[in-house]
Symmetry: C2
Subunit: 133 residues, 2 copies
């Protein structure tokens, strides 16, 4: 089990936005070049981030993406869930009700992880980032 590569792209794209000037939108063209991924594909991921409310997009000349919230309000969890969704790791087809302890255990564990991911903000790592080539 692994995060999709899309999550990796999204994280790097967001970190790039965090490191950029907050007023100037960054185009998908420019982002894709930095990340080494196709612009059309990255575009779809960016749209997910838009719908998740993390960034805003402006079409047209000099358009692109910019952060919606303040840097220090955006956590790893926000980005990851925007791409991966919020479904539980363990979802069984049979539904034995809320009493199912198996799902409860996994859910508790997920909460633990999410708690840490929510506490880590993008800006925390943006400064000391290795060269993003």
């Amino acid at each position: 089990m692994k995060y999709s590569q899309a999550t990796d792209y999204a994280l790097h794209a967001m970190l790039y936005l965090v490191a950029s000037a907050p007023d100037k939108p960054v185009g998908v063209q420019q982002l894709a070049e930095k990340l080494g991924v196709s612009p059309t594909y990255l575009s779809k991921l960016m749209t997910k981030l838009v719908k998740a409310g993390l960034i805003v997009s402006t079409p047209g000349a000099n358009g692109g993406y910019r952060l919606r919230k303040a840097q220090d309000e955006i956590s790893f969890l926000h980005v990851i869930q925007a791409i991966e969704g919020t479904a539980s790791l363990l979802e069984c087809s049979l539904d034995h009700g809320d009493e199912c302890l198996i799902q409860q255990v996994v859910l508790d564990a997920e909460r633990q992880m999410e708690q840490l991911l929510a506490s880590k903000k993008l800006v925390d790592v943006a400064r000391r980032l290795p060269a993003t080539d």
Copy 2:
């Protein structure tokens, strides 16, 4: 992102073994019937659990699987990692070294989750399990 269904099968199979008499091996035929999955497929999963050291198998007449350790030593994490492996959720192809804070954050989060999964033993939920039909 989700655990594979194989993990679900493995958890239920292990819980069944925990609930069974510890001296009598349980055959894959019987297990598969309980879980509603094909015996040959389940067999492959059980083999993974064997290789992970969670259970032992005895071929031949009256053979099958039985727990290797004591009930209360087997955690959710053991079973999950036996199936899903131990790779990190975020593995990027580029390797910017140990200093990569992105991977570090995700790794920390995983550790949090694993810590809880390791503390939860199968026997904790085996007793109060809904009917496994």
